[in-house]
Amino acid sequence: MTRRLGILGLSLLVASALVFVFLRVLPGDPAEVILGTRATPVAVAQLRHTLGLDAPLWLQYLRWAGGAVHGDFGVSYVSSASVGQQIAQRLQVSAPLAVMGMVLSLLIALPLGITAATHHRRAADVIVSAFSQVGIAVPAFWAGFLLITLLAVKLGWFPAGGFGDWSDPVGALRSLLLPAISLALVQGAILARYVRSAVLEVMREDFIRTARAKGMTRGQALWRHGLRNAAVPLVTVLGLQWSYLLVGAIVVENVFYLPGLGRLLLQALGNRDLLVVQGIVTVLTAAVLLVNFATDISYRALDPRLQAAS
């Protein structure tokens, strides 16, 4: 376990270092951008020194990393606001959005995939497969447009965009629901295919036949024996899809004018606000690595054969 945690920490370090270096390649000197029209060579040099931009790259990174471990992601060159605070605020929108998206996609994919598998090659299977194909082809943000048009504009059940804050939890959830559904439709379509093939695979196993020989119906055998065994490949897929979900959330935030990490990222890129970009990408990377870590651990819980091996 400690070894895995160590690898997690190391990956995080390496990833953030890579992003750090990459961002320094950005054309455009932050000092110049900040000073704008007052950017004389002397002023620029002075500001660079003040901001620590003239130090060697590895030193700059270490300073940043040292702070980051304590949650101090620095102060934005552009807005002079604490990067950490900005990110924390935006996370209030993005994190619930991503989680809701994931949960809803499972709620869509599991029943559909299981139904398709149990009605293998019959009508329900064909319909689910068709839905899958369509869902994979539709851009998530366009699904957002359609949902807005239908449910917000025409029917008025949900707001068309914007986000208040969590002091009004019901309102907040309503604001997040349509975006989460846009994400979930696409992710759900992808996952449904995997659920279907995982269930089909499991139904062919010998122990399902044994279960039926004991007197269980196919359905009972699937429920009590099959699903637990199908969980491992599914968890793998979930882990892989998580990063795509996060990125999809970035795009969807723009459709619904949600003040989340995605919009902050795009603004910061436009403003050459390096520290903000650095902070956001690091947080995103951490989210992905954490989920990978979690799936890894879950394997050992789900499959007792792996416990013996370690």
Binding site: D206, R209, T210, K214, G215, H225
Partner: protein, 324 residues
Amino acid sequence: MTAVLEARGLRVVVNGVTAVDGVDLELREGSRTGLIGESGSGKSLTALAMMGLLPEGVDATGSVAYREQELLGMRERDLCRLRGDRLAMVFQEPMTALNPVMRIGDQVAEAIRLHRPVDGHAARAEAERLLTEVHLPDPAGRMRAYPHQLSGGQRQRVMIAMALACGPDVIIADEPTTALDVSVQAQILALLRELVEARRMTLLLITHDLPVVAATCENVMVMYGGRIVESGRTADVFGRPRHPYTRGLVDAIPDAATPPGALRAIPGTVPGLGRFPSGCVFRDRCWKATDKCHEEPSLTKEPQAFACWHPIAGGETAPAPQPA
């Protein structure tokens, strides 16, 4: 003695290929019957068809009756009540036949709770008792073990325990020892025989291994190409076979006295499914085949039934083997 389980004209077609071609089979109460056949003879499908466990899309026609109740075409719900309770099956590969993520004790207890209104506690107690009955070492400890922590022989004992859980009338064992080491095979067979006799069950033992049947079963049926070609008492069928295929099978068993290089194989190979000849299924490998054999021979009457136009008489043996 009444027939507990019988099949009449059982036919199983897979993808247009007839794998089981009109099999008649009768198991008398308390009897131990062996079903011998090589791979591709259709013996496993016969067993699965009788239990109603054929894969999706594969259907059986004909009749299978358990104590006069017709099983083919019975509603799945009713069939589920019989399976596990009155009719039990033991499979070949205990490693894959047990759920790898579920504890042994829970799997055995489940077999009980499916058919008996007992609580978890009572079921587990009974499960432990069953594990003792099948001579599993350290039954109490094993209850919480997972399948991969047991040896092949131990897993098969667990499978047998699960099959016995509700005290069934009939046990069908499909190659129960084929995947096990030779030394363990004898133990498992002895266990089966002991339990079947003690509980007065009816046993159908499916295998390709003649000595296994000889040791365990009083009756035997020989299957080839989806059909029963000979049946009767084991001693008679193996001692004085009437069908050339049976003769070939018996001759092929090497014993301690067989000189090296003198293995007697049946010439040719088993044709793939769907490629058996018309008429007598064995005629393209049989040394006694004539034109008459283009006509399908029917099974003669008991006690030693055979399906052959030119049955073996007296001490007739197959011609000397060709070099392999």
